[in-house]
């Protein structure tokens, strides 16, 4: 297991946009949105795979990611923090599906 983390605190990331046909732990309201990594939270099996009853779920780093309400909803002054698996995230400037 590589020790190097894909994202560091302060990194700007974008969540995936698509709507998978299976369970996922990226809520709809936070899809395709820009956020800032707070910190890594520890590794966990990817719920998207595990929830399909498969035993080959990759164990991924989960990151706390902070989103500004304005970026989520177009309004509001609060922040929302979500815990998101590494494969839900891309570097902010990367091409996002």
């Amino acid at each position: 297991m590589p020790d190097r983390l894909a994202y560091a605190p302060g990194d700007v990331v974008r969540t995936y946009r698509h709507d998978p046909p299976h369970h996922t732990r990226l809520p709809r309201y936070a899809r395709g949105k820009l956020g800032v990594v707070v910190e890594p939270e520890g590794r966990a099996p990817l719920a998207d795979i595990r929830s399909q009853g498969r035993d080959d779920a990759p164990v991924e780093m989960v990151y706390a990611v902070r989103f500004a309400a304005r970026d989520l909803w177009g309004e509001g002054d609060h922040d929302v923090v979500l815990d998101l698996s590494e494969s839900y995230l891309r570097k902010a400037d990367a091409d996002v599906r």
Binding site: A69, L72, S85
Partner: protein, 195 residues
């Protein structure tokens, strides 16, 4: 795809599994109920209140609590979540930040520290609205915050569980740790009340 669990299907599956386990003598008829009762017996917001009172009176404990919640509550004999080990993040309210917890995908909750969650916490209305318009939701709970206080909503979307560390009320300097604990409410630990 996300949203509500299909209670009917999962309940049927669990009942079937339970009866098969009993039929084959793998677990006794009361075993499952006993385990669940034992687990819930220790689950109460009194636990969270004790953690808060310790943090208010012991700055070194507070520092450890904010750095690694699960380890710090472990010092007091508590666990964060369910049967398995769970990370706990304690979000501290200050004069500039107010924290609220939610689980928009289901109803994740630090059960051991806060007891069984209230019905409204699991409601579609709370889960969908508090991430979008927390000030309006808080106002319905009777909480109004000064304009310069920023709200952070923690959506428990993975394995970490959250608890709010409320601000210590003014004029409580003379109170003992047990007396301070009596001031802390369940909603204060969720962030839908001030203490």
């Amino acid at each position: 795809m996300s949203g509500d669990h299909d209670d009917a299907v999962i309940s049927r599956q669990v009942r079937l599994l339970e009866s098969l386990l009993e039929e084959r003598g793998i677990v006794g008829g009361d075993t499952v109920d006993e385990v669940i009762d034992g687990f819930l017996a220790g689950a109460s917001p009194v636990n969270g209140a004790k953690v808060v009172a310790r943090a208010w009176t012991d700055p070194a404990f507070k520092e450890r609590l904010l750095a690694d919640g699960a380890a710090a509550v472990g010092e007091l004999g508590f666990a964060a979540g369910g049967v398995q080990h769970q990370r706990l993040r304690v979000a501290e309210n200050t004069d500039s930040v107010h924290n609220v917890i939610v689980c928009t995908l289901c109803s994740c909750y630090p059960l051991r520290l806060l007891g069984p969650s209230p019905g409204w916490y699991k409601s579609e209305a709370y889960r969908s609205r508090v991430v979008r318009e927390p000030l309006a939701v808080l106002a319905e709970f009777g909480v109004t915050l000064p304009d310069d206080v920023k709200v952070t909503v923690w959506d428990s979307s993975a394995e970490t569980r959250y608890m709010v560390l409320p601000r210590r009320p003014a004029g409580t300097d003379g109170l003992s740790e047990p007396d301070l604990a009596t001031l802390v409410t369940r909603n204060g630990l969720i962030g839908t009340a001030l203490v």
